[in-house]
């Protein structure tokens, strides 16, 4: 069941578009904001509210990088794996993260703290290599600074 708060926020989104379906992405973002990810159950509830089939909605969800159809950790680490970061040592950054957390791309640390995902160019190529943790951008990374940065995310 969608919560009262979720419903309200989604109804706000409806106002910005000529028909409900157009708010599909916004609606999924609302649920994801509250629950971290999109479960089968919430997809069904959402589809009903948007008046489209759950298959159609899933087709949209699975297209996009930042909509999660399986559980994720409390914090999401998006590591840029594009060209300028590649030139400046993305690989070492990924190795360092992977070592510290004991996980690879697509996985969540056993304590449920972090999910590690690749992301295309974060648009901060002049400060490569870069990554984002939740809403925070971290730039000019070195393998040595990784541990310190992670400490801030409990």
């Amino acid at each position: 069941m969608l919560s009262e708060e979720e419903r309200k926020e989604i109804e706000e989104e409806f106002k910005l578009y000529p028909h409900k379906q157009a708010a599909a992405i916004e609606a999924m973002k609302v649920v994801q904001k509250h629950r971290g990810w999109l479960s089968d159950e919430s997809m069904q509830d959402l589809a009903r509210m948007l008046e489209i089939s759950v298959e159609d909605l899933d087709g949209v969800a699975t297209f996009y990088n930042l909509l999660y159809r399986s559980p994720v950790g409390r914090h999401i680490i998006l590591v840029c794996n594009s060209i300028s970061c590649y030139i400046l040592g993305y690989n070492e950054i990924y190795q360092a993260l992977s070592n510290v957390l004991g996980i690879r791309f697509g996985e969540t640390s056993p304590d449920g703290r972090f999910t590690l995902l690749p992301v295309p160019c974060l648009g901060t190529c002049d400060h490569a290599p870069a990554m984002m943790i939740d809403k925070d951008l971290h730039r000019d990374l070195t393998p040595e600074t990784i541990g310190k940065i992670l400490e801030a995310y409990k």
């Binding site: 992405i25 990088n65 930042l66 594009s82 030139i87 901060t124 190529c125 490569a128």
Partner: protein, 424 residues
Amino acid sequence: METPLTQHIRQDGAPLYLKEYEQTGGYEALRKAVTMQPKEIMDLVKDSGLRGRGGAGFPTGMKWSFVPMGDKAPHPKYLVANGDEMEPGTFKDRLLIEGKPHQLIEGMIISAYAIEADVAYIFIRGEYTEGSAIVQKALSEAYEAGYLGKNILGSPYSLEMHIHTSVGRYMCGEETGLLNALEGKRATPRAKPPFPQSSGLFGKPTIVNNIETLSCIPHIINNGAEWFKKLSLTGEGGTKIYGASGKVKRPGLWELPLGTTVREILIDRAGGMRDGLKLRGFLPGGASTDFLTEEHLDVNMDFTAVGKVGSRMGTGTIIVMDDKTCPVGFVHNLEYFFAQESCGWCTPCREGLPWVEKTLRSIEEGTGQMEDLDILDFHTKYLGPGNTFCALAPGAMEPLQSALKYYRDDFIKHITEKRCPWRS
């Protein structure tokens, strides 16, 4: 040297909000625009020579002129600002979004007025969390000050403007993919015709323009078409936000006259290569442009001149390859991106790009064969312009085809030595 777009952007990048923007002459252009006829604005933009800064360089005034106008035109009409910016190596729009949000909003209101649009969307990629918060705040300020909403500045013109934050896919930046994303669908491209100018968002007339393009508009209104033209060195009109990344001494962004030479950007601004490194080549404007090399340093970075030497200015943000970076690994990284981001709508791209990616991977890892070079050549032709539904696949082939031209020996060395010479 005038730098209208980035002037007043703070060194630390903190945004210029309404008061400060107004103190620097902000919204004067809008006051002037609402006293003009939409057609006058369109003509002014046409005469200025402004070409789209999103990569393809289409003349902006001409694009607008295809929108049906007057009493019989269908409504609502839409204007969309394209702030998806997912092209690897491209980071210029972020500066304008975060540093000078009202310049974008003012540019959008004037542009919307020129095409008689009713609703405008600012499409921003989801990872630009700070940028969208800044623009959101600026939007509320603009509404409060009467620059947006009903009867703007007391004129008969009304406009609503909303932000849409994306959920990540390179195809969201493609004009018609973006419209599908805004409609809550998968960001696959649409067949053209009909062109968005006549049937775009929700089937209504729509203009999609890049953030930097729209940010130029207030300055054209304030200072005129001739002034704008004269900003450039080569007559194409305006300044350009150029950038450089890779192992140069001072990576960054600089607003310079359109047509500035690559040498000035890479040597004078970016400080040349880091000590001990040599320039091996560069992509002039993002991941989907052809490599150029040292012999092209004196080329003027504008649409025509870069085209003449076999590449594209693209987004104007240069990616530099040094002599300690493996060209095969470099191109493999790019094609991995394109293969991942293919939307899967048409077969050549959906099937071809993963094949290219795997072939490059095996060459880089030392298990490639000479025939692989023919396979790659083959793909550069069959994924080239005219064979796929949108420009993603042809764009993906640009760095590959030029790498096969300039760095063929490096590919061959990988194959004969059965290893990557850059890996120890």
